[in-house]
Amino acid sequence: MKKNMGWKELMHGDAVQAGTAKEFKTGDWRSEKPVFHPEKCINCLFCWVNCPDCAVLLDENKKVVGFDYNLCKGCGICAHECPVKEPKAITMEAERR
């Protein structure tokens, strides 16, 4: 996206193109981060569906492989929604010990 645009260059009506969050590192203020344990994962994709920031990464076979920590804000929804019995396939850990 072009920087410092003048008002005549803006899109109509306070709109911006969708998907521009990809261009920014929006996950640099987490207090906790999700950690993926592949041996426990049943690949139900609950985490992928529920992630508000599209930070759950899938491989070409649509299997969960981990997280994009540039986007993840550490909300913990993925760990909360993981239906696997404790210990879950996703656990939250403190970002700085």
Binding site: M5, W7, L10, M11, D14, A15, Q17
Partner: protein
């Protein structure tokens, strides 16, 4: 064209029925209740295709309107007084997103003290929210203004929300003979609406209402400034076209017996009708009096007003609300500002009148004209801001 007897509220809901909007979200409030109550009946009777959203407050009503309009729907609503104030958090969002929502507003005093009758304090309180504001003199104009508001708001050069107002009870509940258009004619007149950058356009996905801080907020306000500038000529164009099509032409302002007048009243809404009757009567007695009706308050037609008032000796600006700023009512301060750059300008006096629905009679207007004709003779105003008809 059908001629029918309708109150102001019925006239507005009739226009809504004929426009047949995609979505109406509304909450009842006196004296605007009937507008949406009658419309809800049209929905129940299957006379329109509208999705009617019965909400729990005006805040929700305007929020639902914004959501529906952002999705690309043609959207209308109606409210008054406290209802408009409850909407006020969302009103500037509608204009910032450039959503051409049309609102039927019935002017009513703001609480407190609580009061259900007409003054203009509710509409004036939201005057800087980048909504187009058009005042109606009677039920006929209420009907015509709603139709034109749809056209103005949706014009690509404008794309701003618009409200057409009537005066509570005086117009909203008074039955008059009005001339309406055929349903098919209205359908043709308003045409199809196609939104720009709508959220349900999957081929062109957009984000609306994102956080916008020191870096871009200011830039995002400028298109609104330009749209409001464009609105002036679009309103004139639409008013002229309406006249050509249906015989009733509208402008930003309307001069009544103003050409050779020495003293004229400047007013908004229903009081203009009363003033016309007094002007006719005084003209028969040979007095050079007139009226300047301000039809459009936003955008404010400053140059046109300055030109229309240039040859008067005295202009009397009637305000049916006060700004409580020791500077006069909102119409007065804007007219006074419009006259600042004028080479020729009249003496001006502000009468703040009719708050809370206190009646302004023919006699009241006769006395105002008589008082100001004395000012014209003396060449000097005694008192610039007057609170008319209030007991001490």
């Amino acid at each position: 064209m059908p001629i029918i007897a309708r109150t102001g509220n019925e006239a507005m809901s009739e226009a809504m029925r004929q426009i047949n909007p995609d979505v109406v979200a509304a909450y009842p409030i006196t004296p605007a209740t009937e507008v949406v109550m009658l419309f809800a009946k049209f929905v129940a009777d299957g006379l329109v295709d509208t999705e009617f959203v019965a909400v729990e407050s005006e805040h929700s009503a305007m929020s639902a309107c914004v959501g529906a309009s952002a999705a690309g729907a043609r959207v209308m609503t109606g409210t008054s007084s406290q209802g408009l104030q409850l909407m006020s958090e969302i009103l500037p969002i509608a204009s910032a997103l450039r959503l051409p929502i049309v609102l039927c507003e019935v002017n009513r005093a703001l609480s407190g003290p609580i009061n259900i009758h007409c003054d203009h304090s509710d509409t004036m309180a939201v005057r800087d929210f980048a909504w187009i504001q058009i005042f109606s003199e009677n039920a006929q104009e209420a009907y015509d203004n709603i139709l034109q508001c749809m056209k103005i708001a949706e014009d690509k050069r404008v794309l701003l929300p618009a409200m057409a107002t009537t005066d509570g009870f005086i117009i909203s509940h008074c039955m008059e003979k009005i001339e309406t258009l055929e349903d098919a004619e209205v359908k043709k007149y308003v045409g199809e609406y196609k939104g720009v950058n709508t959220v349900l356009d999957l081929k062109n996905p957009v984000t609306l209402g994102s956080l916008d801080l020191q870096d871009y907020y200011f830039e995002h306000k400028m298109p609104i400034v330009e749209a409001m500038r464009n609105a002036k000529s679009v309103i004139e164009e639409v008013g002229k076209e309406f006249g050509k099509l249906y015989g009733r032409e509208y402008g930003l302002i309307e001069g009544y017996k103003l050409d050779d007048a020495e003293v004229a009243i400047v007013a908004l809404g229903s009081t203009c009708g009363t003033t016309k009757a007094v002007v006719d009567e005084l003209r028969e007695k040979g007095q050079k009096v007139g009226l300047l009706k301000i039809r459009v308050f936003r955008p404010f037609p400053a140059e046109e007003i300055a030109a229309a008032l240039a040859n008067l000796k005295v202009a009397v600006i009637l305000d049916r609300s006060d700004s409580y700023n020791n500077q006069g009512g909102p119409l007065f301060t804007e007219v006074r500002s419009a006259l600042y750059d004028a080479a020729k300008k009249p003496l001006i006096t502000n009468y703040i009148y009719g708050l809370g629905g206190r009646e302004i009679s023919l006699d009241d207007l006769r006395s105002i004209f008589a008082e100001q004709q004395e000012v014209a003779k003396a060449g000097k105003a005694k008192e610039v801001i007057k609170y008319f008809g209030v007991r001490e």
